[in-house]
Symmetry: D2
């Protein structure tokens, strides 16, 4: 499984004085979606951190905002695991409101050993998904 | 010195859809004011963490909101070190806009050893201030 | 109904360098719990804002932190509507982890007309609950 | 003037359980840098919002993270106004620590009339800078 749909509702504290969700919350929504993705493959991030002793690090993020989210909106983040090579992997995101894509995103990651802080291979639990 | 004035401007991302600063930012402003206070006594928090190997922990917080802050507002946080005993100390805060107190607050703290996570005496650099 | 249990999981972005949930997130958890409470009485806050043209304003907050929350923790916020008079009402909160109260809180509110920004009576949908 | 250097220190509440600044804060640092840029050209954003009745909207953001920021770090955001056409403009960002670029970013913007929410030409105060 490489594609998961994460369901979310806008919190009031995520809005700004333009009356919409502040753009800095989308990286947080994406992180929540990644967490949900890892749960769905039965390897929640807290388990990865403890059992494999690795941190998943974010190297790059891109977000495109087409239409805003408002307080009270229910939306979905479709998260798709894309390219994986030995050290890097990528997720793509579609933010959906009323079945319409209102925002898209992309993040690139690698894994660090939590003690040495050195890069390690992408763990099998992720690389095996492709 | 037990009283310091911390100068700040509202960031746009701190506002909400009511057009004002969201209340959850005041605990952050207070934390910044505490950091500024520790800098003024020449013991910035990062130095305390490293040299004394302690974390300053927050045990209680109270905030009263009388008038709101808006985007672009310049304001001051007056921070005052109050009661100190062996294990606990308290800060009080006045948020000032145009020389008027628009919000007040109070926080109670103790110190933990960063390794054992056990409570330790308030360090001299703080207890000596009273 | 005056008591509701709100279910939540800690997000990674809510943690800080002490390895625990930063204290400024508890006011946000309480706001989420209030939103959930209003949903449960079939009057979600976005409906209150639009239909009654009022903003619910936070006047005071208190939080006491006994034990921390960590990344990945599942917890509950028990929210209880307490005192109500003509203009003010109060919520109390218990943060529960493994059936143990690890944090408590209290917030005081009033309602403002969204146009005039003047205080208005607590709406019946809330005052009738007591 | 199209290039400004914005000076900042990491706040504790911006760190996460990896011990570094959480990536979602960089879009906020960039927003602060844009605010500082607008101040330097004597047109702070709150003045733009009020006098020109426009909101500056963010359409796209990209951030690349090379090395982390830690609690207590002092850093600079170099912000450069790049391409401008009738409706869109772009900023580029370099995050500098100890004179080394540790992160880069890019944001694309347009302007909306605050009442109609329709796109309007980039105001002269910005387009004249190129």
């Amino acid at each position: 499984m490489r594609r998961v749909l994460y369901d979310r509702k806008v919190n009031f504290y995520e809005t700004d004085a333009q009356g919409i969700v502040h753009h800095s919350n989308y990286p947080r929504y994406f992180e929540e979606a990644r967490g949900f993705f890892l749960e769905k493959i039965n390897y929640p991030y807290e388990k990865i951190r403890k059992e494999l002793n690795i941190d998943i690090v974010l190297l790059e993020i891109q977000v495109t905002y087409r239409e805003p989210l408002f307080f009270g909106d229910r939306f979905y983040v479709e998260i798709i695991l894309k390219d994986i090579d030995r050290f890097f992997f990528t997720f793509e995101y579609n933010v959906l409101k009323n079945k319409k894509t209102i925002s898209t995103g992309k993040t690139k990651h690698c894994c660090l050993d939590r003690d040495s802080r050195r890069i390690v291979s992408v763990p099998n639990i992720i690389s095996n998904l492709v």
